[in-house]
Symmetry: C2
Subunit: 232 residues, 2 copies
């Protein structure tokens, strides 16, 4: 593993505070690999052999049942995924596939569990990370249960805008069909939802979104920190 990547991983909240020895031994068993786009990295139901870290590219977490499937989340550098399955030594609840050419580090789950027992700083970091993940899913569930698809899209756009720096126009770095799936609707419905937001000053050209009337859109979307804020 190149030194720069090693240092980048070290800087993750999850690893930043742990003892040098422990981090070194964790990395000794790890390996890093490049994957092309659209490769299924893990399949739901399989045992969780590795903690995964996305170093570059992006990964889609999704799930299927009875012929349907849905995108649950997107993982972007640099962060880990399926931490909970690794900790519990339980089967993956979601599948993962690369969305583009990606570089992924794999750390054997049993190493993670062993170091977790030995390094209390690492244990504390894992707790914080898991609590964060838990709260994110709760927010997603509130979004799903309390809002219509039009409201979910409106709030998604406002979040994305903020994430992109707050300017009126920004790029959608999602494929629309996948965005639809993340938001819990069909691609056709998303297409119509974009039109449905036109009266509130949203214009779409390809992947470019422009929010022409911020106040109007916010009055409709009613964003709420307990659903839409990333940090809290």
């Amino acid at each position: 593993m190149p030194d720069s990547e090693y240092r980048d991983i070290r800087k993750l909240d999850l690893f930043a505070q742990m003892a040098d020895d422990n981090f070194t031994s964790l990395m000794r068993g790890a390996y890093v690999q490049n994957f092309p786009a659209q490769i299924e990295l893990i399949t739901e139901g399989e045992p969780s052999d590795f903690l995964h870290i996305v170093i570059s590219g992006s990964v889609d977490l999704f799930s299927a049942w009875n012929g349907r499937d849905t995108s649950m989340a997107t993982v972007r550098p640099i962060s880990t995924f399926i931490l909970a399955a690794t900790i519990k030594d339980a089967p993956y609840l979601m599948s993962a596939r690369t969305l583009e050419k990606s570089r992924i580090a794999l750390i054997p789950s049993q190493d993670v569990r062993a170091i977790f027992d030995a390094d209390s700083n690492f244990a504390r970091a894992i707790v914080t990370e898991l609590a964060q993940c838990y709260r994110s899913v709760i927010k997603a569930q509130k979004d799903l249960k309390l809002r219509t698809s039009l409201e979910r899209l409106a709030n998604y756009l406002l979040r994305q805008q903020r994430h992109a720096g707050g300017r009126a126009a920004f790029e959608l770095n999602f494929e629309k069909r996948r965005l639809a799936s993340v938001l819990g609707m069909t691609p056709e419905n998303l297409s119509r939802a974009f039109k449905g937001l036109q009266p509130y000053g949203v214009t779409v050209t390809g992947t470019r979104i422009s929010i022409d009337n911020q106040a109007d859109l916010e009055r409709f979307a009613k964003p709420n920190p307990l659903i839409d804020d990333f940090s809290t």
Copy 2:
């Protein structure tokens, strides 16, 4: 706090392995209170001052937005709730109210965080608990996104049946209006969903459910361990 309750709390997975001293000091700052039914214990958005433990009775976790509200989960004895907010020292994402007369223990959040730092067994237990909570919510989200309301009800009944011992007939210990909210539908829709399951051998008399044709219902519901199992 009566000795029997003290021991019951001690036996929780979360506290079972921690050092005696630490448990004692955690309980020293705690207090226990009886609440009548329908009391709002915490309100979403407030700072998380206490970790709550339901000793008896039951508690509804719910959330509201823009005039709508939805039940997120039910907490039954003996277990804790809002652990994640306590750990992160962040505002509650959900409100909680008693469903019936309930006895609740309250442990100051800062004590939990302090002991967490000092006791690695306690830290490990918290991690396991959080990982469990996380996975439960992921399952709930898959249930919501991958299934229709009829399918959700069918699978809920099968889970409930298993939980009640597996017999063909069992009691619904939920108010129907709240079950509807948990399942993400209106009471009217739930009423019709029960009728919609009649062809698969489900009969409802008040709060009594009878599954007359197990195989038929399962063929329709297609239960899946990665969504419906409690433990994994």
